[in-house]
Amino acid sequence: MSDVKKSGFDVKKLLTNSRIIVLIFLVAFLSLVTGGKFFTYGNFVNILYSISLTGIMICGATFAVLLGGIDRTVSGNAAVCGAMAATVVLAFGQTTGGAIAGLFAGLACGIVSGFFHGLVLSRFAIPAFLLTLATNEVLYGIVQFITGNQLINVMRCDFMNWIGENRLLGIPIPVYILAVCFVICYIVLNHTVYGRYVYATGGNRQAADLSGVPTRRVIVIAYTISGFMGALSGFVMSCMNKQASAAQAMGYENDVLAAIVIGGVSMRGGSGSLQGAMLGAVLIGVITNGLQLLGVPSIYHNLVKGVIIIVAIAWDMLSAARKSGTATNPFAGLFKSKKKVTA
């Protein structure tokens, strides 16, 4: 009966996805106006490289958003991990063994932080936004403590330089790391029981509870994954920058959340996909890249990005409203003059 659908690749569905259309349109537009500079293999690799750090964070933070929560500590975890790793690397004289020890120490920080958040959020009815807003400050406080508010240089660590600078088959290592994270998280969300439980818990926690889903464990694991991914991203960032700073990754949590939301993951939980979230990141990456290629001064980048994000979300909401048919047009009456002609 439903053999047709089993191919798993639905072109029609893909073309009704407004984000794909926007992306195709953007790519076509930029290819035309940049005179061939945009549409090259090398530039596409650049775009992927530019989103690799936020992309790794998105792989984790999407779990939290799918649960109807949010994880603003991805940046704090990245900073703690970077600082922790760099400190350990220095202690070992920037050897490869030290780098690996630093990597594990940093990731352990992220896991502990994520586990803590999961534990609190699964047991207390605290809004995740508030908790992670506060704890992100705490995390940056810890970073300042570790670094003494100084830059920690790890320029002579070969292992970290290899990650930060090297390419394999022309593609930078961070892109490979992003790809691995994405594939693993994609499989977890789409092919494992745990992934199903994430959607069920985010969609209706009470119903999931009564169906025998261990929702507390589901939440703890999700935030632990998010903490791990934030930390991993922080380590890669330190490799790319050859240093760890007290303000490392600050503000990244907003980019991560923007990409997830643009990617169509519902903030109320239970709906959306990791592919979508990653597509959101690609969209932002393409826009930034296009602005650079077009020679738009960087002081305008945030402005243009913000406006495009607003347009994308507005379009999405309008088409969703039109699809359901019943929602009232949010723009109705906005442009009508208030004056009324009275007879």
Binding site: M1, H191, T192, Y194, Y197, Y199, N204, A208, L210, G270
Partner: protein, 507 residues
Amino acid sequence: MAEKDLLFEMREIEKVFAHVHALDHVNFNVRRGEVHALLGENGAGKSTLIKILTGVYPKDGGQIFMDGKEVEISSRESAAALGIACIFQELSLVPTLSVYQNVMLGKEIAKFGIVNAKQERKQIQDLIDHYGFPVGANDIVETLSVAQMQMVEILKALATDAKLIIMDEPTASLSSRESELLYKIIHQLRERDVSIIYISHRLEEVFNLSDRITILRDGKNAGLVEKEHIVPSEIIKMMIGKEVSEATASRELKTSDAEPVLTVKHLTRLGAYNDVSFEVKRGEVVVLTGLVGSGRTEIVRTVYGADPYDSGEILIEGKPYQPKISRSVATGFGLIPEDRRTQGFSPLLSVTGNVAVTNYDKLSKSGFVNKANENTLGHEAVRLVDLRPPNPDVQVGNLSGGNQQKAVLGKWLTRDLKIMLIDEPTVGIDIGAKDEIYEIIERLSADGVAVLMVSSDIAEVLRVAHRILVMRGGKITKEFNNGVATQEDILMASSGFAAEEGKEADA
């Protein structure tokens, strides 16, 4: 046709959605000071008609008259300006504000932006006193009961001089005592010449309250009945277009002699229920009935492992059982929770997604989901509950109430069940789907599943029960296990009039 006391009239109303006639030349009118019920199964066109008359949808044809003059209702505002107000199922009050602040919201009495609270309060208190509502102008809305909140909604309508108030399932979330209060208020409104359009799935209350009943079926008028001519079976026939059995007025009960599956001994949870003992045998349908708040739901939740208990014992097939949800699911329990929307399903997930949640023990191998089996299960569940549309990929939130409940049932039907716990399965569900759900319960019982059900709907109790336990104030006060039980018997027992064994009513 040209009745003099006609307040409101809709003539030959048409509405087309994507080439489907949702309303096909529907006529509907309301007299001054009458309660006019609108009956029909889900999808008959009731809500479309209401949305047209409150200005949510534009009509595609026909005319609307108010006080004999033709009017256009193009928006909620224009409906309100004509004196039409709607009390929706979901209340639209600001919980943290007081009653008078809610009522005056958007029409504050103010000078230069400064509110005259004293005058507002007095005005609303006068209105409350005039109609005799049991609320105070200063009460904070979130401290009120649901019934009182509805009264605030009604006050909001009255404060705008509404002449026509639409009540959409107003008693759906009320206890019987609260419902009584609402009926009283409806009578008072009617005496003061306010007209009411009443929509409800509870047929008895519709028959008792209404002056007239308009019946819709498939978007067409199926009948208009005056109070004197109300014959329940006739009206039900008009609604569904076929005969239903009248066998729900009483029921022949019998005690099964199969072995007990669930045994509850002296179970107590302070403040909820006290020293409750009963058993449910293989293939038996035992119904816990009584008023809302008598402890029925809490017992079911305790047995399932969702709520704790203080003392007592629970046995499954004779062996002591420590309730815990995951253990219950693994042991062969199923649960249809009290409120399907908040506890039963995930609205954004597909039918398959919802149904599979309880079945991953069989659908997965070392943590990985077998998608082919998952899809097969979705189709199987759709077939077992006869879901409409028969598509396992629809989001459950987009289904009708009856089909949502069938999807919740689908979670369990593919499992090897021992005990099915069912809590108020048909609240807000149309008659056709109700019958199908009863048939599913009967099928479960025939397969040897022990069914423990909670229900306040007496017709429903008599339709499915093998044995009936009546609860009052946290105790089982009466058991019907043999012979014939009638609606009256059960009503008497649950309201506490049947103190025949010399017991004083101690509540």
